[in-house]
Symmetry: C2
Subunit: 114 residues, 2 copies
DNA sequence: ACCTCATATAAGTAATTGCTTATATAATAA
DNA sequence: TTATTATATAAGCAATTACTTATATGAGGT
């Protein structure tokens, strides 16, 4: 596996997006499992439009994938992004989002959206 | 060596600073060797006040150290920063700044400032 | 067709950003 | 002291940011 580099511009563009605590948390969660918008709203405690706007930025930068399932739209980390390795490195220095997602499950809050 | 985590806020603050191509390049250079302001101005081709302002932000966040030597002020990466490991991970996905610094040396441009 | 739910978009706004130009400070040399 | 050099700071400004509220879209159920 050959090591490939990002340009400074590419890296800076991705890092700028990660340099917001809400978006960084979104990445933390969608790197564990795909999440629907309402789950992320629940986890981060921000408004639905604010969440939608953050997700659009991440999607425009191709850092996340979008997938519709009926009413819901699920987002997941894009492992094909050239900066994926860098992003994973960043996320590795943060506590894993898995616990928070499991807590959502335990409270039967995954995909409630009511 | 126990693994320690950053908070999302701590990481986001550091990443926001890295999310600018000029500051990211500064970090790229000062991680290789300590650099004086005029060298960084030469390397990045931005104005001296703009450089000074970027350095102040990095210094305020303690991502870099400052050291005076006569006329010159040298900056170097702060290995004691809690986010140092994360920063190194980010820089590892970029081409090393060493070549550019060596080119400066070859052109006898290190600490000219004239 | 209509209603509801999940999500997206639009428009407006206050705060922040990264620059510019001009000036101040700090260190050394004459 | 005065001059020179390296760097920092101040003030101003256009662009960008992250939110808000209001409205639109898209999918499913009745």
């Amino acid at each position: 596996m050959e090591k490939t580099y990002l340009t400074v511009e590419e890296a800076a563009q991705a890092l700028k997006l990660l340099g917001d605590k809400n978006r960084l948390s979104i990445m933390r969660y969608v790197s564990v499992d795909e999440c629907c918008v309402c789950e992320l709203v629940e986890l981060l405690d921000i408004s639905q439009p604010a969440m939608s706007q953050h997700l659009r930025k991440l999607k425009d930068a191709k850092l996340v994938n979008e997938k519709r399932k009926g009413h819901w739209v699920f987002y997941s980390i894009n492992k094909e992004h050239p900066g994926y390795t860098m992003v994973q490195g960043v996320l590795a220095s943060l506590p894993n989002g898995k616990e928070d997602l499991e807590e959502l499950s335990n409270n039967n809050m995954r995909i409630i959206c009511d």
